[in-house]
C-alpha cells in the first residue's frame, strides 16, 4: 500500500474514534445531575441561590442528545467550548499548555529510550551476572517508586537543600519577563527551542536548568519499562542462528551485540517508545504539579476534578488525535527499521 493512501486511511479512522470517545465521555458526565454540573459555575456557598438560573442559562437540564448535539455543532464551527477551570477557550488552553508538556516529552523521551536500550542491552549481554541483577534491581526500584515521592525528594534535595540549585517552574522570574518582552520572539512557546531560535544562551540554560528535575523524575520512573523490554528482546535475538554465525565468524562480542543483535531487538522497543512519547505528551499530572511545570496533564486533571466537561472533551479529542498520529508514525518507522514490514500488511 502506498504511504499516502495508508496515511489518509488512518486519518479517516480518526472520525469514528473521535465520535466514539466524545460520546462515551459525554455519556459519563451526564450521569451527574444538572446541579452537580452547574457547580462548575458556583464556587462559593454565597452563589448557591443562582444555581437554578445557571442550569437554565447553560442548558444543563436539556436531554443528552440536545446537549451533545449543541457541543458537536460548536466543534464543527471550530469552537471547542470554554474551559472554566482556566478561564479561557478550550482551544486556547490546549495551545497554552501543550508546549510545556511537549518540552518535557521531547527531553524525557530520548533519555528514557536511550537509557532503556543501553541498560537493556547491557543486562542481556551479561545475563544472570551481577550487572544483569543490578540493572534489574535498579529497574524494579525505579518502576516502583511513587512519582510524587521521588519528585518531592528530588525537589527537596536539589532545590531546597542545595539552595535553589535546580528550581521548579519553567523559567526563572527575570528570564520569564525577558522572554515575554521584545525582542525575544516566542515561536513555539517551547522555551529551549525558542531560545535556540532567538540565539539566546542564558534563556536556553535557564530553561534547561528547570527541565532537569522533572525530566529525571520521568526518566527514572519510565526507563525500567523500556529496559526490561529491551533485555528480553535482546535475549531473543541473541539466541537466533545469525548471531551464532556472527560469533562463528569470529566477530568481536561487542560487534555481535551492538550491531547484529540490537538492531533486530529494537522493533518492539520502537512500538513502546511511541507510546512512551504519547503518554508523556498526554500530560504527566504529578510531575507537572510538583515541579510547577504546568502542562496539559495538569489542565486535564483540574478539568476532570471540577467536572469541566468542555475541557475534558477537548482533552479527549486532543488525546485521540495524538495517539492516532503516534501510531501512524510508529508504523512508518517500522518500515524503516525492518524492510520486511509493509504498511497495512504486516511482515512479508
Amino acid at each position: 500500500m502506498e504511504l499516502r493512501s495508508y496515511i489518509i486511511r488512518r486519518l479517516l479512522l480518526l472520525i469514528p474514534v473521535l465520535l466514539g470517545v466524545t460520546l462515551f465521555i459525554f455519556g459519563i458526565t451526564m450521569m451527574f445531575s444538572p446541579t452537580q454540573r452547574a457547580m462548575l459555575y458556583v464556587r462559593d456557598a454565597k452563589q448557591l441561590a443562582d444555581l437554578p438560573a445557571v442550569i437554565e442559562r447553560y442548558g444543563l437540564d436539556q436531554p443528552f442528545v440536545v446537549q451533545y448535539g449543541t457541543w458537536l455543532g460548536q466543534v464543527f464551527t471550530g469552537n471547542l467550548g470554554y474551559s472554566k477551570v482556566v478561564s479561557q477557550p478550550v482551544s486556547d488552553a490546549i495551545i497554552q499548555f501543550l508546549p510545556a508538556t511537549l518540552e518535557l516529552a521531547i527531553f524525557a523521551t530520548p533519555l528514557i529510550i536511550l537509557l532503556g536500550i543501553l541498560l537493556g542491552t547491557t543486562a542481556a549481554a551479561h545475563k544472570d551476572r551481577p550487572l544483569d541483577h543490578g540493572t534489574r534491581v535498579a529497574a524494579i526500584l525505579g518502576w516502583s517508586l511513587p512519582t510524587f515521592w521521588l519528585g518531592l525528594m528530588l525537589l527537596m534535595i536539589f532545590y531546597g537543600f542545595l539552595r535553589g540549585f535546580l528550581p521548579p517552574g519553567r523559567l526563572s522570574v527575570q528570564i520569564d519577563l525577558l522572554v515575554n518582552a521584545a525582542p525575544f520572539i516566542r515561536y513555539t512557546h517551547i522555551n529551549t527551542i525558542d531560545a535556540i531560535l532567538n540565539l539566546d544562551g542564558p534563556v536556553f540554560l535557564d530553561a534547561l536548568r528547570h527541565l532537569v528535575l522533572p525530566v529525571v523524575t520521568l526518566s527514572v520512573v519510565n526507563v525500567a519499562f523500556i529496559m526490561r523490554l529491551m533485555r528480553s528482546s535482546m535475549l531473543e535475538s541473541l539466541g537466533k542462528g545469525y548471531i551464532l554465525t556472527a560469533r562463528a565468524k569470529g566477530l568481536a562480542e561487542r560487534v555481535v551485540v551492538n550491531k547484529h543483535a540490537r538492531r533486530n531487538a529494537l522493533i518492539p522497543v520502537i512500538t513502546v517508545s511511541g507510546y512512551v512519547f504519547a503518554a508523556l505528551a498526554n500530560g504527566v499530572v504529578i510531575t507537572e504539579t510538583i515541579f510547577n511545570f504546568k502542562g496539559i496533564g495538569w489542565w486535564a486533571w483540574q478539568s476532570a476534578i471540577n467536572l469541566d466537561i468542555s475541557s475534558v472533551l477537548g482533552f479527549a479529542l486532543f488525546n485521540a488525535v495524538l495517539f492516532v498520529l503516534v501510531n501512524l508514525v510508529v508504523d512508518v518507522l517500522y518500515t524503516r527499521v525492518d524492510p520486511r514490514v509493509r504498511l497495512g500488511q504486516g511482515v512479508q
Binding site: T35, V42, R43, L48, S87, Q88, F97, L118, P168, I290
Partner: protein
Amino acid sequence: MSKRLSKLGWIVIIALLTLALVAFPACTQTGEEEEEEENGGPAIPYKNDGIFVQMTIGEPETLDPAASYDNASGEQIDLVYETLVDYDRGAAGDFVGQLATDWVWNAADLTWTFTIRQGVKFHEGGDLSPEDVEYSFERAMIYDRLGGPTWMLFEPLLLAGEYAGLTFADVDATVEVDGNNVVFTLADAGYTLIWLQTICGGWGSIVDKEWCIANGEWDGTEADIPNHYQQEDGTTYLWTHMNGTGPWKLNQWEHGVQFKLERFDDYWREPAPFDFVISQLVEEWTTRKQALLAGDADFVLVDKMYIPEIEGVADLLKIKDLGELAVTSMFMNQDIETEDNDYIGTGQLDGNGIPGDFFSDPDVRKGFLYAFDYETAIRDIMLDEGITPPSPIVEGLLGYNPDASRYTYDLAKAEEHLKAAWGGQVWEKGFKFTAIYNSGNDMRKAAMEILAENLFEINNKFQVAVVGLPWGTGMVPLLRSYRLVLYACGWGGDYPHAHNFVAPFMSTYGTFSKFMSYGSAELDATIEAALLELDPEEQLDKYYELQQIWYDDAPAIMCWQPTGRRWFTKYIHGFFFNPMIPGDAGPLYYMSKSAS
C-alpha cells in the same frame, strides 16, 4: 575501558554530562551573599529586586470587576482598578478617597454625592470622568452576572437582589452625573454606611466607558441590555482584559500558571513600589515552601497544617493573630428531607436513625452545642490560630458583643439537654446519622469527629458517622435538597458589617439558615430593623438582641473564627492588615522590598 563502550553508551554519557554542565553553573549562579543563621537554618537570599513574587493556590476566575466574586480575582482587580473610596488602612468604618476627592451624605434625599478626582488616567490612556463612574455601576447592574456580586449594589440602591423585575429606568435613576459629581440615591438611610463599605469592594471598580464600548461591551443604552444581561461566563471583553486606574496594569495572564502586573507609570499617586507583581499558582506545598526558603518567592500561602514546618525558620517575617472576618460553623437541619436520604439511617428515632425533624427540638441542638469542645478545636485543629465566636457576628464587626452569651464545652449540661430531648426518647433509644463535611477539608472533619466522640462518650447509643463528600458534586446537591443532616461550612465577609453575617445565618432567605430550616418572619423583621436603624446606639442594641436570639435558638455550632498569619521573606516591609483587602499578600501599594 572506553573500547568497551558502544556509540549509544557515549551518547548517554554525553547527555548526562551536558545536564551536569547545565546544572553546575546554576549552583553558583545566585550570586547572593549567603550567611548561616545561628538558628532556623541558612539565610534566605535576596532575589528579584523590584519584583514581588507570591505563590498561592487560587487562579482568578475573571478580571471583570462586575463579575468577580472570588478572592483570587478580587486580589488582581484590587491592584489594577480603583474605587471611589477605600478603607482607611485597617479600619472598617473610616474611609479615604481614591477616585473621589470628597463624598457627602444628604439625609433629606438619601443621596451620596461623590466629587470625582481630576487628572486620573486609565492604563490605556483615557481620562477618568464622572460618566465612567456612572457607566461602571450601571453596567454592573444590567450585566448582573449569575452567581456574581451585584446583589450587593441592588440591595442598598433598590431594595432588590437582582436586575430581573427592574427596568433600566430604575437602575438609571440610582446613579446620576451632576457636573463633576456622581450622585447615588439609596433606597433607605439604613444603608448609608453599608454603601460606602460596599463600593470599596472590587465590584465598585471604575472602568473606562469609552474603552469598554469600543471593545464590544454594553453601549450604555436600554436597547443593548439584552445583549449583555447575564452574559455567559468568559464572553465579556473585561473577563480577560483590564484597563483600570490603579498602580499596576496587566502584563500577562498565563492561565493556570501565573498572573503578572507591571507598574503603571502615569499613576496619579506616587509610583507603585514594585516594578512587577507576579502571582504564581503553585498547588504543591513543598514547592511553595522551598521557593520561599530559596528567596524565589516573597510570600507564600501557608495552610495551618504546615505552620510547624516553617515556624522555626528565623529568616522570615511572621505576622500573627490577624482577625479574619470569617467563621466556620456546623449547621443542624431542623427539617431534613427523609425521602431517598442515606444519611438518617432508618429515618426513625429508634436508635438506628433520626426523624426529619430531629433537630427541631431545642434540647437536641443545645445538647450538641454543649458537647462540642471549643477549646480543643482551637488548640488542636486551629493550632491556636482562632477564637470561638458566640454568634455569626464575629469579632471585628460593628455590632459584635464580646460579652454575648455563648456555649461552652460542658458534657454535664449536654447530657441534661439530651436527656430532656424528645421526651427522653433520645436518651433511651439513641440516634444514628451521618454528618457531612467537604472532602479535603481536614479541619472540618476533625471538628466533626470531636463532636461525634463527645456525643458517644455521653451515651454510646449516640452514633454520628463523619463522611467527606466533594463540595460541588456531593454536598451541594444534598444541601439544596435539604438532605444534609449536620454539615460544616464557612462564611467570609463581603463587607465588614454585621448584616453581611446575620442575613446568611439567621434570615429565612439566608444561605445557611434556609438550608437548616431556621428563621421566621419575625426574625427577618428584627434583622431588617437592626439594619435600618439610624441611631448607632440603638443599632448596637438591636445587634446585641440578635446575638441573644442566636444563643437562645442554638441553631448551629460556632466552631471558630480564624486568626490568620502571613509569612514573608524578611525583605518585605510595610504590611498592615485589613481583612477586606482581597488576597493574602496585603496592601502591596503600601509595601516595599529591600535587602536592608
